[in-house]
């Protein structure tokens, strides 16, 4: 991938924004965020007819090989779709899809600085007293997202789905993703897929905009533990809102290595907060189906990281690390959900 520099970004913005003068890009550096996209931060200053402006910016770039089948347009549109609908998200500023500029498509967004996003920091003893507030913020925001009527959102960029079709669609999609990765035979994952097909869930109570990766690590929080913004919308899609809840309950994403889901709160607390905020019921059978389904999705993503690592000219440590760290734990989570552990 072509390196992005302060000079190249400054030249690009000067050309892209003809009304901007004296464009200055500074403190450009890559952040240790995410396995699927490159994320950079920089300071921007420019002048236009209204005066001098200074902004903190986040840049994300599509890599040639990723563990997630998404692109800049999809995430950019997802952020735009939910912006202003009660779920706090950063404002999108610019989408550039022509790879001639930076090798891969990029998006620019406002950078909300001075907050935290680490899923590990909140496992430290000093944060223990703020976990209830973090839990309230995490699962309330998720519940509010579930409650937003899809008719109020511009989701035309997403694949169609219905309350009846979404479960099978997601299973088909992630099974195909597993088939496309070359990591060897996986008896537990394949048994789980057969179980899911033999035991389809009830139709979704409603169709919702599903975030697709709603968990600790993908939201900003302040020093008091208040949720500030929800990030990483690249896997957003129309679907069953139980899907987001199930993903957030995943054992492999329980960073405290105990019964606190997402490393934040016990399963029952998470469900209670989500139900109150969404106005929906988390049907136990449906939620169980989605929890096992999320194990399939997780394994597909970790396996896709292996494939991306193997075929990339610039293998990313995180793809190999995540696969080593997560794949057996994901199998173990499937055993638990199937009552075989």
């Amino acid at each position: 991938m072509k390196p992005i520099t302060e000079e190249s970004m400054g030249r690009y913005l000067s050309a892209r924004m003809p009304n901007w003068r004296h464009v200055m890009v500074s403190d450009f550096h890559r952040l240790p965020m995410g396995a699927s996209r490159e994320t950079f931060r920089f300071d921007l200053a420019y002048e236009d007819e209204t005066g001098r402006h200074a902004q903190k910016m986040i840049l994300r770039r599509d890599p040639p090989a990723s563990n997630v089948d998404s692109d800049r347009r999809h995430e950019f549109c997802a952020y735009q779709a939910i912006y202003g609908h009660g779920i706090p998200v950063p404002r999108m500023i610019l989408l550039e899809e022509d790879p001639a500029h930076f090798d891969g498509a990029i998006s620019l967004a406002e950078d909300l600085r001075g907050f935290h996003n680490s899923e590990y920091q909140i496992q430290e003893p000093a944060w223990r007293d703020r976990l209830p507030r973090l839990a309230e913020g995490l699962w309330s925001a998720m519940g509010k997202l579930a409650a937003v009527p899809t008719a109020d959102l511009d989701l035309e960029f997403m694949k169609p789905a219905t309350a009846e079709s979404t479960a099978a669609q997601e299973l088909d999609y992630w099974e195909a993703s597993l088939d496309a990765s070359d990591v060897g035979p996986e008896p537990i994952t394949r048994a789980a897929i057969r179980w899911l097909r033999r035991n389809p869930p009830p139709p979704a109570q409603k169709l919702a905009m599903v975030h697709g990766d709603f968990r600790a690590g993908n939201f900003l929080y302040d020093d008091a533990g208040e949720l500030v913004a929800v990030l990483d919308w690249e896997m957003a899609h129309r679907g069953d809102p139980l899907e987001d809840l199930a993903w957030s309950l995943s054992r492999v994403l329980s960073f405290g290595k105990d019964d606190r889901r997402s490393g934040v709160a016990p399963r029952a607390d998470a469900i209670r907060i989500w139900e109150k905020a969404s106005g929906l019921k988390a049907d136990p059978a449906g939620l169980h189906w989605w929890e096992l389904m999320m194990c399939i999705k997780g394994q597909a993503i970790w396996n896709a990281g292996v494939s991306a690592w193997k075929k990339s000219d610039d293998p990313q440590v995180i793809h190999a690390y995540a696969a080593w760290w997560l794949r057996n734990a994901q199998d173990r989570a499937m055993l638990e959900l199937m009552g075989k552990l």
């Binding site: 996986e186 048994a191 054992r251 690390y321 080593w324 760290w325 055993l335």
Partner: protein
């Protein structure tokens, strides 16, 4: 190799995590931290990998034989980890076929065999656990 590979790799992990990573920032610090965690996993896996695979392959052969599925005979002759992993993958592929077939049957023998398959899979997962895993 002396010092032993697990001890040397664990030392490298500590060096990366406690000395080098704190001197870095941003993306590089993240990579150093993950590399340290990978060294920890190598240290854990190095000593046990061959024994784990030999035992798992024997268990897989036993359950496949019980299910009437043909497979390469054991015990494993080539004890290099790469050879053991190749044998393991061939056996796991056949286990998927057997498992799917057994699920379709509705008799006591099938349920008993299915339980035996789950026993093998459960043992495999427990023996592959790493200390840093969330679950």
């Amino acid at each position: 190799m002396k010092p032993s590979v697990p001890a040397a790799v664990a030392n490298l992990a500590a060096l990366l995590r406690d000395d080098i990573a704190p001197a870095l920032t941003g993306f590089r610090a993240g990579n150093a931290g993950m590399a340290a965690a990978m060294f920890d996993m190598v240290a854990e896996e190095w000593d046990r990998a061959a024994a784990r695979l030999v035992a798992e392959n024997a268990a897989l052969r036993a359950v496949l034989t019980r299910g009437g599925i043909e497979h390469a005979p054991g015990p494993d002759a080539d004890l290099r980890v790469s050879a053991l992993e190749a044998a393991n993958e061939a056996l796991r592929e056949r286990l998927i076929t057997l498992h799917a077939a057994v699920e379709q049957r509705d008799d006591a023998d099938a349920r008993s065999l299915e339980n035996a398959i789950w026993d093998v899979l459960r043992a495999s997962v427990e023996n592959r656990r790493i200390a840093s895993a969330n679950f």
